[in-house]
Symmetry: D3
Subunit: 237 residues, 6 copies
């Protein structure tokens, strides 16, 4: 019934290739089906003014899409002179999500910037960015720990994200672009490896949904993020 | 236990003064406690390019805050040369929320722009904007129906929004600024008068929450929006 | 003969509601007929670089109009990415006008920012902004004096402003929008309560005027600002 | 008593060299003492949208200053990404001033853009721009009349501008930079060759002035603009 | 003698992986040593205004660098609100280079946009962009020819580019980053497969060079681009 | 054969008027035929951050064109909100060219900014800017040496620039606008008075050229810049 032939609760094949670029302190290319995102983590000993002297660390994120990552070419944001509303929303979301899984005391007063750049898009780019971004962050933190500048692991529980929605009347897991563009109701769930909730964004563009449907979607999200946490751990091993 | 002395499931006093400005096709000043938002609705017979010729209507929203609506003065966005990420996120949310309650066929090919400008802020400005914005929209649509250009009512069910969060370990309804700035977990629920869900945005900044807590917050939100729907109806009567 | 039925030398009804918002150190909503402007004054102990260490105070102003303050909706300046030429001109005028009535030595090295936001426009918004802005400034300075940080009153003489112009061949006081949009010759006069001149901006868009007409307009302006000074004093009492 | 040794009512030497650049339909280099402004007029058969089909002409102006026209180098506005408030104010003033002297019916539905670029500044650049800008406009209109596309002269009366102010307690004509930077009260008067007023901008930065002083300044302005009108006529002959 | 141990006239290993992304009409990932650039070509039947109706085609290019493509993270251009001078220069160069190899009559009135995005940088990104960009262009044109909309091949001779410079007193081919950052004299040569010159940009930052040195560099460039042309042909076969 | 009747290897008449503006530390108006550029040099004891404390000097350049310097009016860059790609390219080129002729140790830790503003354009504005810019720089440095703050002359060899191209199949020197707009192949050569090369930019827009043609163009450039060096020396004497 799904265009891809997947079962209702079946994610796309996921692969995570770490060390995709050589300069970043942590990097990976995550593929969720045909959605490919290059994630890099940059360690900076300088911190933003609002935490200077606090002893606390900070994690922030930026998101971008190459102009021809999509089916039709989108205008380059650098050329149009500003990041669009969608971009700003997504990168704020990625930053909040990753910070929720970080012990900022343990990280110490430094900043890690996670860049998520979509090379190819087929739905679910913000979820792939969070899941891959956590891996890049993990690798960068490993470097800090190996170097002895961070003593206690600030990443206790992996953070991943998955989209769920109602497609053709049925709750489905991990929507691809053909599903996403038709689903009236869909959203993103960000959870920890141990099943705690970090962020929920459910939206019914031009539609509505019931409490029962919401519960079904939360069940799917729990299944998906639990699988993603295993894949993240394997990639970082 | 709450700084304001309110019960856990008690909203702040709400008032809606319609016709607050004379030029707009619909307008109101909504007060949720010390949060005051001026909402106006403007009818435009021209529509954005992407719906031209479709016969469908469009509702969009813009959001702003006066520089001294807050405790310390914020820089004027017009002066800094762009709308901040928070502003863009909020106005996209208001637009989506209001559109979810509109029958776009019944509205016909025209656009209504809802401007929500915060005169005074004390937490929950985006929720007040949606609740008050719907009233401005309702009044503008009434004008179209009275003039006979819209025959069937495109607004079948009121749309309102309320924040919920976990404050001092307890789920509470309608956070004011002192609560909002301390709550690790909070979010906004947008619902229809008949109890359907339109959008959920739950976020745990630097924290996590459980499925049980999520359920309690959804109960509070249902109570709050049901009360708001009554107040909206009374204001438009 | 005037659309409003007013006498040639008759101002619109003026009201000033002080304390309209709770956060600002001084605030008022001034209404000159259907022109409504919210004025707030913010005290900042930091000063701009060019007066640092001088011991002198500074007063500056910003001006904005809500998108639907006018008969047809204007594009939000924050959205278009810059303040228009008209806005910049007006806020520079308000700042200069208010500074002319301030003893900057007595104020001491601090800055007061006066924000004037037009909620509803019907002509004369810059004059209402100056007149109301002075009231907000007065209230903020009162707070500084009450707290003992300012010893000598830096506001010796109230500052107010009124428009005058030639409408249907006759010199008239305080043009409303229908008059303003037809008057070939009009301008703004900023004066002190004791009748001194601070600024004159007379302009004949596509027209010219004589020295005699200029004298008649100055007589009207003197009458108007003298009445406004009384209203300002009453509001601050 | 004046730094330059001039009499109180004495202008600086004025010269106008027409045809300074070869591409523009009208051009001149105006020198008022050490203030040098290059003025060009460009005829465009396309008009702005708001007069399309009206049969009326339009005159607009732009103003700029080369970075090292002044004593210390100013940042290039093209590099800082926007025209400053002062620039915007001045070019709007030049445009209004020139339009006041144009019979827009006689000009016919076309636009003339007058560019005023300050090569060297020593006070009074906006007045020199208006006076020189009118000459460039005159030359461009001459071309239109010679070509027979404009039949009736749309420029009936020359437009010129001069600054006046109170320097060391005395009313003086045509302030140069050393005077301008010390005068508490000064302004610009735009008048026609036949002595009619077009625009007055009197400002007392941090000061005030009396009705009597205003009258003396108006006398000086009438003398100055009458002399300028003769110089303009001679330059265009 | 070279940091990489290469001979003076030896290029880095080059690989071109075509079809790297699925949406673009032509795409490849070109690797010149550790410099990796993703090139995509987008066909658009709409053309820029200046060639509308001419029957001629157009090829344009855009260039970008991911923030962490470099050794230290660079600010994202979309976030800083404009493309830097270096980016603008490079993308104009790529566009001119590719157009020089296109028969615009044969291409017909359509536009092809080549996006070159640097995933990892180690010197020579603009040369890799041109060489890889031509491959993406070639693949997109192949599609047009296969579909029969283009009858005669508009790409008669491959276009490639290579850097040459004087490093440690010796002329060297294809500078990597360690060489590039020390070479006082270096430049880029764009040539056709048949050895014709398209563009030369030789620059001596803070230095000078002789006619003899220029001749040696041109010899190296001819060798390098002739090798690149073979690699391009093999990749497209 | 050339539109101007010049011989193939003949430059336009060149004149350099020094001291054209009074404020700048060095200034000249250079005329190469109908191309007129005002060049000013500004000395600043503050240096950019990247050389602070190095003891080295810096020379930078900015370039602009008055809107009606050209045959049809171009939009003012300050009004369009950014410098175009062509402007950025040119001013970077001017800066690099001038720096190549400066002994930065001898100059000492200070910055000189050279502004090149085109008053009238007829082809070759960037070359005239470099040639005239060097004269302004020379005059400013003379001032520093006269004042004793610079002991050793940092300008050992004059820097000038000339365009060459292939027009109607023939290599020609110093293209004017009619030639420039038809030449498929043209470029700019920057050389020292003693015949060393600083920068070469040869470009074949939509065309190609041979190694032999390149050699002929380099011969022309050597002749032209050698003549310009003599004119520069005479102007500064």
């Amino acid at each position: 019934m799904r265009p891809s032939g997947r079962a209702l609760n079946e994610m796309r094949p996921v692969s995570i290739e770490t060390g995709f670029t050589k300069h970043a302190e942590g990097s990976c290319l995550i593929k969720m089906g045909d959605t490919h995102v290059l994630c890099t983590a940059t360690i900076d000993e300088r911190v933003p003014p609002f935490i200077k002297g606090s002893g606390l660390g900070w994690v922030t994120a930026e998101y971008g899409m190459l102009p021809r990552a999509t089916n039709t070419r989108m205008r380059r944001e650098a050329a149009s002179g500003k990041q669009g509303g969608r971009t700003v929303e997504i990168q704020r979301l990625i930053g909040r999500a990753l910070r929720a899984g970080v012990d900022r005391v343990a990280l110490g007063e430094r900043q890690i910037t996670v860049d998520c750049d979509v090379l190819q898009a087929d739905g679910g780019t913000r979820c792939a960015s969070i899941t891959g971004g956590w891996v890049a962050l993990r690798l960068a933190v490993n470097k800090l720990m190996k170097a002895g500048v961070v003593k206690m692991d600030p990443l206790v529980d992996p953070v991943s994200a998955i989209s769920c929605g109602i497609y053709a009347g049925q709750p489905v897991l991990d929507l691809d672009y053909p599903e996403d563009s038709e689903a009236g109701v869909d959203g993103n769930f960000i959870m920890t490896g141990s099943g705690k909730l970090i962020e929920i964004q459910m939206s019914a563009e031009g539609s509505v949904f019931s409490r029962e449907q919401m519960n079904e979607l939360m069940d799917l999200a729990a299944k998906g993020t639990s699988e993603l946490a295993e894949i993240q751990k394997a990639a970082c091993a």
